[in-house]
């Protein structure tokens, strides 16, 4: 087996909560990310799903160096990039780029599209010789499906979907190996989402990219991911190949999450079991003891308050080789199938 292109271990990000203006005193911490491990193989897509506040965006920011981890390691091709600085860091950054969620705020409204995409070459002059940059920007526009003649236009002259294409072109400018996409389609209209998802799929093949795809929409994550990690309150609670997670989930949170997704099939609504979770996600400043999901879990017992469940293949599945044998951080893991195969019309390939 080849070495993974990206390996994250024990990743932690705590934001200190302080009081006072000049003389600050720490009174607690927001534990946004609280011990995350995963790896990414070359050419694959790792989907990370979770609800708002689970820390998935903070993970993305740490991967691209926008936030410094409080603890833990991010290894890119074996090298820990959290300790790098200066030139070495800049070199690594070239290989890990980000696509942002909001195409309206992520493009500088006072820069032309050419400058926005070409800025990558100004920051990394070694990536492209000066005379060649303009041509490369035009090529990139073409690659993401925009007319290269639009190079002198400003972001506000484009629609949301087109802006997201510009954001993707910017991410591609340095020919990175890894792209971290944080909710790249959630701000777009349904009919435009599919265009952008298809584009990302095509680019992955064309440029042999590895994706970390972060989203709250479970259907989109399944569509695009090879492997999936489910996050809850700063940790990954279950991870595995897409079919393992979606068709054979063993963690109660994953099961609840999957069962809550509205399925576009009215026939399903009568015979669908829904697991409706009680209450809200606890505050990340005050994480429950033991299993962090226990306060909302329909299976919680005494053991859950005392003992932190590890992210590993649960004991009951360890002997089996079935799809339920994947990492799940639950003391009482049990396979429940919650996503019914959809009935109704076949998922066709569109009209015409």
């Amino acid at each position: 087996m080849t070495e993974p292109i990206l390996e994250v271990s024990g990743l932690v990000k705590h934001y200190p909560l302080t009081r006072g203006v000049l003389f600050k005193k720490q009174v607690g911490a927001v534990k946004a990310v609280d011990g995350v491990d995963f790896h990414l193989d070359a050419g694959e897509t790792l989907g990370i799903v979770g609800e708002s506040g689970c820390g998935k965006s903070t993970v993305a920011k740490m991967l691209v160096g926008l936030e410094q981890p409080t603890a833990g390691r991010i290894r890119y091709r074996g090298e820990d990039i959290t300790r790098l600085s200066g030139k070495a860091l800049k070199a690594v950054r070239r290989n890990i780029q980000m696509v942002f969620q909001d195409p309206y705020t992520s493009l500088n409204p006072r820069m032309t599209v050419g400058d926005i995409i070409g800025e990558a070459y100004e920051i990394h002059p070694e990536a492209a010789p000066k005379g060649d940059r303009r041509r490369r920007v035009r090529d990139l526009l073409d690659v993401v499906g925009l007319n290269p003649e639009y190079i002198n236009r400003y972001p506000h002259q484009f629609s949301g979907g087109q802006r997201q294409r510009i954001g993707i072109a910017r991410g591609l400018a340095l020919r990175p190996e890894i792209i971290v996409a944080d909710e790249p389609v959630s701000a777009l209209d349904v009919s435009v989402q599919a265009q952008v998802i298809n584009l990302m799929g095509r680019l992955q093949e064309e440029f042999h990219l590895s994706y970390v795809f972060i989203a709250h929409d479970l259907s989109i994550v399944r569509h695009i991911s090879d492997r999936v990690g489910v996050m809850y309150l700063g940790r990954i609670v279950e991870t595995g190949r897409d079919a393992e997670i979606y068709d054979h989930p063993t963690h109660p949170y994953t099961q609840a999450l999957l069962s809550a997704v509205p399925v576009p099939d009215p026939e399903a609504r009568e015979h669908r079991e829904r697991i409706i979770l009680a209450g809200d996600v606890p505050s990340p400043t005050n994480i429950p003891s033991g299993c962090r999901f226990r306060t909302r879990c329909f299976k919680a017992r005494e053991r859950c308050a005392l003992e932190v469940p590890l992210l590993a293949v649960p004991a009951e599945f360890r002997g089996t080789r079935g799809p339920a044998a994947h990492d799940s951080a639950c003391h009482f893991a049990e396979e429940i199938r919650v996503v019914p195969p959809e009935t109704g019309r076949e998922h066709g390939n569109g009209p015409g």
Binding site: Q162, A194, N198, D242, Y246, P262, E342, H347
Partner: protein, 324 residues
Amino acid sequence: MLLEVRDLHVEFRTRDGIAKAVNGVSYGVDAGRTLAVLGESGSGKSVTAQTVMGILDVPPGRITGGEVLFEGRDLLKLKEEERRTVRGAEMAMIFQDALSSLNPVLTVGDQLAEMFTVHRGMSRRDARARAVELMDRVRIPGARERVKQYPHQFSGGMRQRIMIAMAMALEPKLIIADEPTTALDVTVQAQVMDLLADLQREYDMGLILITHDLGVVADVADEIAVMYAGRIVETAPVHEIYKAPAHPYTRGLLDSIPRLDQKGRELYAIKGLPPSLTAIPPGCAFHPRCPLARDVCRTDEPPLYQVGDTRGSACHFWRECLHD
């Protein structure tokens, strides 16, 4: 029919000309039924709802034609004072963003109680008691204590429940919910939709659910109206539309969403973008993006053809679409 919208036209004056936001929309909902109005941003679904509620900003908006019949009365002909008695008491609205719809400097109890003191002339004390009752009814735990808290002290899901409580306060006959769960997480979304459905059943209300989410629609709606560029392009009972859409736009939407139960191949993507409302294409507004488009689509605007007994489709070639 509890509410019936007939041939409604609304336009907006903008810097670049007249934007035709709603162009001849007709729909209706009965007591105890749920109509889902499905559309993307700019389809006119929210503007129609605002017009029904009487909260459209005029100007820049202008109602240029049509009727909004509520129990047979045309609301558009009422004076503003008469309108106000209908709003809140007879029909109420739930918005997407609960945080900005609640006043941050008043406790939620005060805001709920205000509904009763203003509309029902209750004493502050009685109104307060009713507020607690309401919060109980929308399943907010510890209502008696939490009634004294401010909106920011509640989570997103709880705030949306408070919004529902406010809408329900005067037991209206019709509720219009504009993307009520879009801002919420899936697990909370399920809780809130369940609550809304339960309350609707209990009070036999009509519900107009405005959304872009095909999944939510399939879960709760009885009827669907699909909107595109300010027109209704397809109407149908919910079961039929998912089985066999009769309009290429609906069909494209259904095909373009990734599915939970299978790893997809390439998604079908409707090509192009929705039109600018200042320059809606002539003929069928969808023709530049439509795989079935022919010459007639570029010139003749399709009426809402009757499809079977219960459905309608504004496509010249609905038969092809249906049987394809």
